[in-house]
Amino acid sequence: MRYLKEVLASRELLANLTLREIRGQYKRTVFGQLWSLVNPLATMLVYTIVFAFILRVTPPPGDPSGLNIFPVWLLCGLLPFTFFSASVQTGMGSILANAGLVQKVHFSRIVLPLSTVGSIGFNWLFEMGVLVAVLLICGAWVLPWLPFVLLMMVILAVFAAGLVLVLVIANVYFRDTQYFVGILMQIWIYMTPIIYPISLVEAQSARIGPLMGTNVTVLDIYRLNPMERFVAVFRNLLYDNRWPEVNDVLFCAVSAVAALAVGLWVFRRNEKGLAEAL
C-alpha cells in the first residue's frame, strides 16, 4: 500500500516523462505523429496481400455489423497487438536507456517503464482514433461501444505494464532478455488469431480431438494466451459491434491484474539495486 502511495505521489513526474517521450519522438520529422500510423499500415498492406489475396484467408463477416473487409478486420486485432508488443519491447529497455538518470538522481524508478507504456499508449490511442473513423466510413456503428473499447485499452495497458515491470528488471541483469523477447513477440503474433480467424484453429482442434486421453483440446491450450482473449474482445466491440463474451473479458481482467501484481512485486524487490547493477 505504501508503495502504491509513493507511485501515486510521482504521477506528475510520470506525466512529464510521458510527455517527454511523446514530444521528443517525432521531433524534426516532416510527418510527425503520422509516422505512428505508417508502421501498422505497412504491416496491414503486406498481410492483406499475402493472407487475403494470395492465401485466401476469409474471416467471418461482422455479426451484426455485416462488415466484410479483411484489412479492417485485421487492424482491429493488429493495433492492440502492436501496442502490446511495442510497449513490452521498448519498456523493457527504459531503465537501461536512462541509466545516467538512475545513477545520478533519486526518484521513483517505476515511472521510467510506466512512462514508456504511456507514450506508446498515446500513439495507440491516435491509431485507434483513425481506425474508428475508418470503421464509421465503412458503415459500422461503433460509437456506442467506444467507452468499453477505452476500458479494454486500459486493461491491456495494465497487462503490458505488468510484463514490462518484470522484463525491465530481468533486462538489467541479463541483457539477453531483450533479444529473447524480440523473438518471442514474433512467435506470439502468430500464436494469436490476428492474421487468421480462430475458426481455422477450431477446425484443426476438432479434427485432432482430445489430447492423449484427456479432455484438453488444442483449442483449450491455444486459448490460454491472454492476447487471444484481448483480440477477440476488441474485434467483438469494433468489428462486430456486439457485447463480448463475459468469460473473455474476465480472463483479460484477471490476467492484467495478475501481471501487474507480479510486476510490482518483482520491481519493488529489485528497485534499490538498480543503480549499482547498471
Binding site: 506528475e12 513526474l13 516523462l17 517527454r20 545516467g100 545520478k104 533519486h106 526518484f107 534499490k272 539495486g273
Partner: protein, 243 residues
C-alpha cells in the same frame, strides 16, 4: 543529519554471469568477492552547517554521497535526515536534447521532485540565474556546454531543499557564474539549510565549510570542525602519509 555505522560493499566479479548463456553453461552463480567501499562510518552533520567531505581519490566520498542521496542503499547502518533532501551529483542529467530549454526546466524540475506549481513560480528565477534567457525556447542540444551546465545547475539549486548534497559540480561555468553560485550557497547557509559537499579543492572547503569529514580508503579518519580536519588531511599528504 546523522549517519550511523554506515557500510557499503560492492561486488567485484571475477566471473560474472551477465548473460543467460553463461549462467546456464556454468550452472552456478557468479564468482565475486565483496569490496567494502565504506566501513562503519558514523558522524553527525549539524543542521544549518556547510559540511565538506574530503579525501583522496577512491576514498569513498562519492559513494557516501550516493548513499546520502538514496541512489545506493547501504548494507549496514542508517542515515537519518530531517526535511527535504536534494542531490546535485551531475547537472543536466535527464535533459532531452530535442526539447526546448523551457520544456527541460519543467521536466528536470519534476525529476528532482518539484511540483509543476513550484516550477512555474520559480521559472523566472531559474532562467535568470542560468543566464540563458535568450535561448530558453531553443532545443538544448544547441546549447554550448557552459549553458547546458548552467541551466542544469540553476534548476537544481532552486529545488530549495533543507539538505543539499553536492558533488564537485561547483567548478562549472565562468568566474562570474561561480561567484553567483558561491553567493547562492551563502544564502543557503543564512536560511539555515544544510549543505554537504565533496571537493578536492581545499581552498573551497576551507572557504565554504564550517565542518568537515576526512575519509581514507572507506574509513572515517576524523570528523569535526573544518580547519583542524583540513590541516590534518593536508599534513598527511605532505608528510608522505597514506595516499
Amino acid at each position: 543529519m546523522k549517519v550511523d555505522g554506515l557500510s557499503k560493499s560492492f561486488r567485484l566479479y571475477h566471473e560474472r554471469n551477465q548473460s543467460l548463456k553463461s549462467t546456464i553453461m556454468r550452472g552456478r552463480r557468479s564468482v565475486h568477492e565483496d569490496f567494502w567501499a565504506l566501513k562503519d562510518i558514523s558522524f553527525e552533520v549539524p543542521t544549518g552547517s556547510t559540511f565538506g567531505l574530503i579525501g583522496s581519490n577512491g576514498s569513498g566520498k562519492s559513494t557516501l554521497l550516493k548513499c546520502l542521496a538514496k541512489i545506493y542503499y547501504p548494507e549496514k547502518g542508517t542515515i537519518t535526515s530531517r526535511g527535504r533532501l536534494a542531490a546535485l551529483l551531475e547537472v543536466g542529467s535527464g535533459f532531452h536534447p530535442e526539447l526546448s530549454g523551457r520544456d527541460n526546466v519543467f521536466l528536470n524540475g519534476s525529476i528532482l521532485g518539484m511540483s509543476k506549481k513550484e516550477i512555474t513560480r520559480k521559472f523566472d528565477e531559474i532562467v535568470d540565474f542560468s543566464g540563458v534567457e535568450q535561448f530558453i525556447d531553443q532545443p538544448v542540444k544547441n546549447y554550448s556546454s557552459g549553458m547546458y551546465v548552467r541551466l542544469g545547475f540553476a534548476i537544481a539549486i532552486n529545488v530549495d531543499p533543507d539538505v543539499l548534497v553536492v558533488d564537485e559540480v561547483l567548478a562549472v561555468g565562468d568566474a562570474e557564474f561561480q561567484e553567483k553560485c558561491r553567493l547562492k550557497f551563502v544564502d543557503f547557509k543564512e536560511a539555515g539549510k544544510t549543505v554537504i559537499l565533496v571537493s578536492h579543492s581545499m581552498s573551497t572547503v576551507q572557504d565554504m565549510c564550517d565542518h568537515a569529514a576526512w575519509l581514507n580508503h572507506g574509513e572515517l579518519v576524523t570528523a569535526g570542525e573544518a580547519t583542524p580536519t583540513i590541516s590534518a588531511y593536508l599534513d598527511s599528504l605532505s608528510f608522505g602519509g597514506n595516499l
